[in-house]
Amino acid sequence: MKLNERSVAHYATCDSPPDKTGFLFKKGERNTAYHRRWLILKGNMLFYFEERESREPIGVIVLEGCTVELCESAEEFAFAIKFDCAKARVYKMAAENQAAMESWVKALSRASFDYMRLVVRELERQLEEIQEGAGGLQGRPKSSRKAGGVARSKSGASFSASTVPSTQVTGAALAQGAAHARSLQEEVQLLSGASKENGVAWSKPSALVNGCSEGPHSGVPWEGNGGGDGVRPPPVPPRRRGASLESPVSPGTGCFSKLHDWYGKEVAELRVDWLQSH
């Protein structure tokens, strides 16, 4: 089967920030020794390079439909990426210490597109609820109707003492990674079919760059909620529908990347607050 390999490799090394990088020992495909590789996780793609300085990846593992598990191995801190299709490969990896292993397992089990979509849908739903509900509510989500359930448990560490071998390491539901995301795919598709507008319409008649930032933005300055401390939220922007993208409280959203950059500045400050208050 053909793949646009050059462009896929370009995705690995282009300047969008990776989700995780590091050295891991990867068990070879034919040569079953473990080889030290430099790994770059971006989106649902796990690239592996011979060296950190290598320009081109040796290969890539597409992380859809897989689970990530701790595994028994002569190697310490070993885990495996398993796929459930027939005759699927098991990719065995080993980290250099416990913390690295846990960090990788967590990152990999939430790397799928399905999972990202799930989280986006959930937030989209929450935002709609907030916008439709009476002002002043905290936006608590209703208990979920979704198949498989969306447990609200706040899971700190997704691992208990990780000395138990072959434990399926996932969090719970949305704090969870691979396994449940796929079972919700159908529901997600129903949702995606239902509305083209996610509160913001993304279609433009001419060329659209998929996922890349564009030129300098010149949005309307957003009078943000400067002093908000939850007492009375600012007026909620009208629900955006169809092609009408302008709203009184947000910059024009014809180009999401502009909006993204705009929010980026705001949120950098917000993050400091969040971190300080937790």
Binding site: G43, E64, R110, G139, Q189, S203, N210, G211, P233, V267
Partner: protein, 155 residues
């Protein structure tokens, strides 16, 4: 570059966001339009020769540009090879627009931006970070980096 082909083929059999028979022309000089079953699954566009079980090929839809070519056709170009266009011919303007919209939304990076948008908007409106209740607020992939590379430490 190696890739997990078996698993990708299996992925091509999963329920798709959108699937249709379209005219498809490859990016090389001399390529002609051929009917292909085109199927959008997560951030991959698979294309099958009619009546074949396994896809002829797959396109990862990251770092690409989707453009309307004329009333019923669109093209996909990858940013690292801007001269090479994959052309797709649809049966109607409406179908063409639907495909364009779907493909734009089919990128992981696009969804990530959506997520960051919703996250910050919800926080702005409620004072609460909506990811906290799931314990995923610190996930790198959900952070707003705003140009700053918040690379996790290599541990």
């Amino acid at each position: 570059m190696r890739f997990n082909e078996k698993e990708l083929i299996s992925l091509s059999r999963q329920p798709s966001e959108r699937a249709a028979e379209l005219g498809m022309r490859g990016p090389k000089k001399g390529d002609v339009v051929k009917r292909r079953l085109v199927k959008l699954v997560v951030n991959f566009l698979f294309y099958f020769r009619t009546d074949e079980e396994e896809p002829q090929g797959a396109l990862l839809l990251e770092q690409c540009r989707v453009e309307r070519e004329d009333s019923q056709a669109f093209s996909i170009t990858f940013l690292d090879e801007a001269e090479r266009k994959y052309l797709f011919e649809c049966d109607s303007q409406e179908q063409c627009q639907e495909w364009i919209d779907s493909i734009i939304k089919a990128s992981y990076e696009f969804m990530r931006k959506n997520l960051i948008f919703y996250r910050t908007e919800i926080h702005r409106l409620t004072g609460k970070d909506p990811l906290e209740q799931y314990g995923i607020e610190d996930e790198t992939r959900f952070q707003v980096t705003s140009g700053l590379q918040l690379m996790p430490k290599d541990i």
